[in-house]
Structures are given as C-alpha cells and as structure tokens.
C-alpha cells in the first residue's frame, strides 16, 4: 500500500460530458486534483508533465485506444511505474484478463456512480503494493 493518500489523477477520455462528470466527482466528492486529457496521442507528454499518482484511461478512443496507450506507457521507464485503471463500457472478460495480466491496476465499468468513483479509486490504490 502506498504511504501517501491518492491525490493526483490523470484522466484520458474523449467524451466531454463524461470528462465533466468525472472531474466533478473526483474534485468535489473525492477532493482530488484531476488533469483531463482529450487526445490520447498527446497523453504521454501530458502525463509526464502532470506527474499523477494514478492514471485513468478510457478504453475506446479515436486515434489511439486505451489498451494501446497502456502498452505504450509500459515501454516508457517513468510511465511504466504508474498504476493504470481502465474505465470502460465495453470490455470482454478476455480483454480484461489480458490487461490485468499486463499489469493494469483495476477496471471500472461504465456507467459508474460519480458518488462512489473516488472510493472505488481509493480501494484500488489501497491494494497496490
């Protein structure tokens, strides 16, 4: 379990409405700091500069989907250390298993409850080594 509370989140998501709800949920309910990234192609640079505690990735995005971005992060020495949580409306059990095997920290399915989202993330954070 990390020795500090979960505070900084990078969230990569193309849907603006969901971006707004997640931001509101994490900032207002969870009292966290959120950096939302709309374009997955620029995500690597944004994550590197924001230095989050945890990264949330949407699964289906144009240009580059969540799993591809995740694999790319795994090849970067700094980004590879970050815990990654997927948030998705469409993932088969096989996809989930594959990503968990690759080292994803957790999976949250859409629709999620904005009331509970911060607690769900903290639960995942608490289980990290």
């Amino acid at each position: 379990m990390p020795d500090r509370p979960l505070q900084r989140i990078s969230y990569v998501e193309d849907d603006e409405d969901i971006q707004r709800i997640v931001r509101m949920s994490l900032e207002r309910v969870g009292k966290m700091t959120v950096d939302v990234v709309s374009d997955s192609m620029t995500a690597m640079a944004r994550i590197a500069s924001f230095k989050p505690d945890l990264v949330m990735l949407d699964w289906m995005m144009p240009r580059m989907d969540g799993p591809t971005l995740f694999r790319k992060m795994k090849q970067d020495p700094e980004a590879a250390k970050l815990p990654v949580v997927f948030i998705t409306a469409k993932a088969t059990q096989r996809d989930t298993d594959e990503l968990m095997a690759l080292g994803a920290a957790g999976m949250i399915s859409k629709p999620f409850s904005p009331k509970d989202l911060p607690d769900q993330l903290r639960a995942i954070w608490g289980k990290l080594p």
Binding site: D15, D17, I18, I21, M24, S25, R28, V29, M60, A89, K90, Q93, R94, K110, P111, F112, S113, P114, K115
Partner: protein
Amino acid sequence: MARSCQFDRSLELAGVDRLGEVGADAAGDRAFNKARIVDAGDDHDRPSEALAGQLYCGRQPVEGRHLDVEEVEIGASCRRFGNRLFAEIALLIPLFFGVSVAIAFRLNGVFLSGYRLRHAYQRQLVELQEARRQIEASGRKLALFAERSPIAVLELDAQGVVHEVNHAAELLFGYAADELAGKSVKKIVLPKYQPDFDRDWTALIASRQPMAGVKVRNPRRDGLTVVCDWTVTPLVNPDGTVISVIAQGRDITAQLEAERMKKEFTATLSHELRTPLTSIIGSLQLINAGVLGDVPKDVAELTEVAERNGQRLLDLINDILDIEKIESGKLTLMPEVIRVDELVREAMLLNKGFGDRFHVRFEAQGELLTREVTADRKRLLQVMTNLLSNAAKFSPEGEVVGITTDEVSGLLRIGVHDKGSGIPEAFRARIFGRFNQADSTATRQKGGTGLGLAICKRLIEMMQGRIGFRDRDGGGTTFWFELPRHA
C-alpha cells in the same frame, strides 16, 4: 365237348370276403363247390348241380346222366386250374388293393405337397407384390421429399458429377436442373475454394462417412453468393463402393446476416447506449447527492425521478446483455472459492440502500454457515442482489427479509424469505421465464425488467446448482438456490 368254368361275381366276392378268415385255398374250394359248370352247347344260365357235385367228390353220380373217364379227367383238370387261378386271383386282389391304397396315399401326399407349394407360392407372390408396392411408394415418397424439400438437394456420383437436382436447388443457385445435371458440382463452388473442395471431396469418398455443418460460400448464376450449410451423405454398397452422394444445402445467408446484426446491436447497446446513460445518470447522481449544493425541493424530486428511471433503463440494458451473453454461450464464469457467510453479508451490505428505499430490513436468521462453494463471486452477488431486491420490493413496509444458510447432503442452500403476498398460481410455471412479471403494474411502480429471475436461473445452473421457491407458512415466499459444497 368243350366246357368252361366261370365264377358267379357274387361268389367271387364271397370268396374274397372270407379270405382273411380261412385262407386262399379253402376259400377257393368253397367257392368252387358252389360253382356252376356250364355246357357251352346248353342253356348257359342253367346250373348243373349234380355234375358239380360229382366233380368235387370224385364219385359216380347217384342219379341222372353217366359220366365217362374223359369227362372225369377234364373235371379234375378244371378243378386244379380253378384252384390255381382262384389262389392267384386271391393273392393278386389284396396285393392290388394294397398297391392302390399305397398309390392313393402317396398321391394324396403329392397332391397335398403340391397344394401347399402352390399356396406358399401364391402367398410369396402376394408378399412380393406388396413389397414391390411398398418400395415403389417409398421411392415416390423419397422423390417427393427431395422434390418438395425447402432445402437444396443434389444427387452426385462419386466423381462429383451432378445427377439430380431438386426445385429448391434450382431456385437457390439460379440454374435449371438440366444445366447442372451431368456437370461437375464445382460449377457451384467458387474458383478460389475449388482446391479445398477437391481435397475435402477426396477425403469424403475415402472415408465414406457423412459430413454435416459444412459451411460453404456458393456462387449463384447471377454472380451473387449464398452461404450454405451442407450435409453430405455418401450412399455406400455392401461391398464398400460409393454409389452416389446426397448433398443437402440450407441457405444460411440471412441467418448469418441476422446474427451479425444481432452482434452489432449488442455492441451498440453495450457501448452507444451505456455511454450517454453514464452522463445522464452520473449528472443526476451528482445533483441528487448534493455535490452541487442544495436544489429546490421540486427540482430535487424531478431529478430523483429522472435518476431512478435512468437506472431502470440501464438495468434493462444490462439484463438484455446478460441474457444474450448467456444464451449465446459467451458468458465466462470466473470460479473462486467463496465462504457462504461472507457472501451473504456482502450481499446484505450491497443491497442495504435498496432495502432502505422500500423500508425493509435484511437480516441473517440463525447462524450463517462458514462452508465454502466454488462459484463466480460477481455473478453470485448478482443472483443474491436479484433475490434480495425482489424480496424488498414485494414485502410490506417495515418487514424483515430473512436470509438463511443450510447444508443438505453436500449442497449449500441459501434462502431468502419474504413476507410478500406470495406468487400467484398462474404465474408459478413461468416465473423463471424471460420478460415475465406477475403484474405489469408492479414493474411500473417498483422497477425491474422481468429478466432478473431468468438470469438467476441460468447463472445458478451454469454453476452446477439449482434455484426454486416455495410458499412460507403464514404467508410470503422463500426463494432459494443450492450450490455444491466446495470439497
């Protein structure tokens, strides 16, 4: 003087009649004693009793005419001849009679055999005619089956040359029967698949085993293609040679298209409907949770209605997706060892909010078992949630919904006991069916999709368990499910 002896027919018969009693000679003598000697020159019918008496006794006649030596010798000779003749005849008659009886008996046997043979032949002839009639009828029936069959039927020889084509095949491929007959069946195989076809055909003829479910994209005359599901059956002689091959093809193009559309629809449901619902329900939840501060009471009431119905729509989508996944065999379970008491407590905690909404309290009754089952935790919680939420929805306000755990012969049973009005008789048989609810007004008032119990039943059965319900004494219903105990 020529004389002849002759038997009166009645005497002859008398002699024969008594043959059995006194023997042939004695019979002959007695008959002779009664014989009449007839003078050829005299009246033929007048008997000479005196002469007959002398001849027999060898004495001179007492009265009447005198007899000389020649006459006496002739008499003796006649008597000997008569005796011999009589003896021979007496022997021949029974012999003849015996032979006649034997012949008659034998003939009777022959006639009887002949009669039986004729009868058997006629019967066989009738049977053969009946068999022939039946074969012809079967042949006609088979021909009719093939001809009127809605699926394409082709009869091919071992080389793959088409012999017969039914009407459905003509319609499906756009060729008249004459255009296909005598040609290779490869006419309805796409050129790029022909090497594969040759390989499969050779294997089929070599194995002589029927093949089913062979999916092939076949070209039509008009250039379009149809996907057919073929069943190919070689007809084999007793000596093992392939006489012909019957190919039956079902056009599954529309079915595949429907499956593709269903898959696409499911994906759309899964993603395109859930994504906007995430925004709708999420926004309403944030407002209703007071994250944005207090809102006017009327607004709050409406946003609660909106959130509840959004959630209902989401439940329906999730249930449809679940049923679809289960029925298409795509649902994979993640089995793990679960302690029954932990499962019950987790389910009670998860559904506490739902119970509060209906003013119903969930309560474990008796000591919960610490035994374990092997099951998918998430799916088992889904089943528990369904049973608990149903119990809460249909219990009167302020009631307690009890949860019990029992072990019966290696099976762990979890029971959820409500104090509702019970399951209507007419609804009992279809309670685990799809889109079934006892009362549609209940759906509107209390939510629910009518798919919940159908999903529960399928999930529990996938985990080698069973699910059921029974009336409770004093009102209410117990829903239960059983799972094998983890060894």
